[in-house]
Subunit: 164 residues, 2 copies
């Protein structure tokens, strides 16, 4: 068995660069959902006893860059979902854009073999690195989908899901 | 340049088997959301002018197995989102379970190099095979997240998102 055989039995499905672009495409769509959300409803509007959309976005901000930082080799941090700057829509969008840059920067530091390793994300969630990253992305899609319902019930048309 | 070098510059992020297991994990969660949904509301309840959850599930059924069948090399079919059997909850769950088996069967027929090729899914959506599969999964997460809001506003606690 050599590396050539290994490559044949475990073919490339998606490359690290493609996975990053996939995530950033989703993050760009989420940014447009934040932009579409009325500022006065970000922390006041909710359905079925769920969190307001602003709190969901704070969770996404708490996960993306800090989570990727740990994957890149830094010590685990605790989840910080209370970001003072995110209390206004402009502040939230500014944090989002900073996260976008941080994500690109940390991603570039992830060694290629890292995706197959195990990690205890935020010191508490165990899994492979690849499954952890997919969890981050899936969690964003999940909450953004809920944001779509919030927007629709507020009479606002969300951006198209497929437009990434 | 040989295959060995190529394997080094494009490391494995996720294998085909892992991607299938990831998707089936999501599909198992979606199945439990369908189970949690009151049958009498599947096609009558909606928020903000959106589709009832039952129609979203028909879309997911129309995509998963037929989409994977095409990826496995069969001719493209048109999207068929009108499934008579899905009109009842029991029928919908039975179709869901059939799709689970079909998905496994077609997946096993996908050649390893196929994930990097381009495809015109359902004869109209162009992309790579990997991005098409991620789109199928992401679309399911998106609509299931909306189903969570429907359930919550109906006073029903959905299954935990992380329980897959």
């Amino acid at each position: 068995m050599n590396t050539t055989v290994k490559a044949t039995t475990s073919p490339i499905v998606i490359t690290p660069a493609e996975l990053l672009a996939h995530w950033q495409g989703h993050r760009d769509l989420t940014r447009r959902v934040i932009e579409a959300f009325p500022e006065e409803q970000l922390y006041t509007y909710s359905l079925g006893g769920m969190r307001p959309f602003g709190e969901m976005v704070q969770e996404l901000l708490a996960i993306a860059a800090p989570g990727t930082k740990q994957i890149a080799g830094e010590p685990a941090e605790e989840l910080n979902e209370h970001l003072e700057q995110a209390k206004t829509k402009a502040g939230m969008l500014a944090l989002w854009d900073e996260s976008t840059e941080e994500l690109n920067r940390y991603w570039a530091q992830i060694p290629e073999e890292r995706f197959r390793e195990r990690i205890l994300a935020f010191g508490q969630y165990e899994g492979t690195v690849w499954s952890t990253i997919l969890y981050f992305i899936d969690n964003e899609i999940h909450h953004r989908g809920q944001g779509y319902v919030y927007l629709r019930t507020l009479g606002i048309e969300p951006p198209q899901f497929w437009d990434r």
